[in-house]
C-alpha cells in the first residue's frame, strides 16, 4: 500500500512516501500504524503517540479504526495547523 507522511511524521519516518507490503491481518488504519511502529527506530519514534496521529484514505479524513477497504493511498500526519 502507498503510504504518505506529512510534517514531523514525515521528518521522523525519513521519507515523504513509500510503498509498504502489509501482512494479511492488517485491515484498519490503526493496525497499519501498529505494523509500521515495528519496522525500525525511526518508525517507533514517529508513532510513539498513536493517539495524536490523523489519517486520510484516498484523501478523505478517516478515524484510526477505519478499515482500509479498497483504498490505494493512506496518509498519516499530525493534527493540522493551516489557516
Amino acid at each position: 500500500m502507498k503510504i504518505v507522511y506529512f510534517a514531523w511524521l514525515r521528518e521522523r519516518v525519513g521519507v515523504p512516501e513509500e510503498v509498504v507490503a502489509l501482512p494479511d491481518g492488517v485491515r484498519t488504519v490503526g493496525e497499519v500504524i501498529t505494523h509500521l511502529s515495528g519496522l525500525g527506530e525511526n518508525y517507533a519514534y514517529a508513532f510513539e503517540r498513536p493517539s495524536v496521529i490523523r489519517a486520510a484514505l484516498d484523501r478523505k479524513h478517516v478515524p484510526l479504526d477505519a478499515p482500509l477497504g479498497e483504498a490505494r493511498e493512506l496518509a498519516l500526519f499530525p493534527p493540522m495547523t493551516g489557516g
Binding site: 514531523w8 486520510a56 500526519f77 499530525p78 493534527p79 493540522m80 495547523t81 493551516g82 489557516g83
Partner: protein
C-alpha cells in the same frame, strides 16, 4: 450559489483583487466578510513560516468545507485561497471572503469556513527562526478543535 473560488498558491495573495470578484457588476450583494490570516513574527523570533500541504487533498477539503457553508447559509459567493511554501511575517497565509445579501449569513459563512479549515484542511506550519536555529512545527490548538462543536 454563485462563484466559488478555491485555490492554493505559492505566490502572495492579492486580497483586494480576489475579493473584488465577489461584488463587481452585481446589485444583490449587500455584505462581504473577509478574513485574512497573517504570518506573525512572534516578537521578532520568527523569520517566517513554512507551509506544508497535502497536494490533491488540501484543495478538495477546502472546497468541501466551502460547499457545506453554501448549503447552510444563503451565500452569493465564496473565495478561499491558501498559501503554501515559505511565508514572511506580515504576509497573508489564508484569505476567506464570503458574500451574501445580509451580514449575518456572511459572518457565519466566513467563520464556519475558517473554523473547519483550521482543523480539517491538510496544512502544517513549521517555524523558521530569525536566529537561524531549527524551527519547530506549530502545535495544533485544542481551542481550534473545540471551535467546531458550535456548528
Amino acid at each position: 450559489m454563485a462563484p466559488l473560488v478555491v485555490r492554493l498558491q505559492a505566490a502572495p495573495i492579492d486580497v483586494e483583487a480576489e475579493t473584488r470578484l465577489l461584488s463587481v457588476g452585481r446589485g444583490d450583494v449587500g455584505a462581504i466578510v473577509t478574513f485574512t490570516g497573517l504570518c506573525r513574527d512572534e516578537k521578532g523570533t520568527l523569520s517566517g513560516l513554512e507551509l506544508e500541504h497535502y497536494p490533491g487533498m488540501a484543495e478538495a477539503e477546502i472546497t468541501r468545507i466551502a460547499e457545506e457553508a453554501a448549503g447552510r447559509w444563503p451565500l452569493l459567493g465564496i473565495v478561499a485561497i491558501h498559501r503554501h511554501g515559505l511565508v514572511a511575517p506580515g504576509e497573508v497565509i489564508v484569505l476567506v471572503a464570503v458574500a451574501s445579501a445580509h451580514r449575518q449569513a456572511a459572518f457565519a459563512g466566513a467563520e464556519f469556513i475558517m473554523d473547519f479549515l483550521k482543523s480539517r484542511a491538510p496544512f502544517w506550519k513549521k517555524e523558521h527562526r530569525s536566529d537561524g536555529g531549527e524551527g519547530q512545527w506549530v502545535d495544533a490548538k485544542e481551542s481550534d478543535e473545540a471551535a467546531l462543536s458550535r456548528w
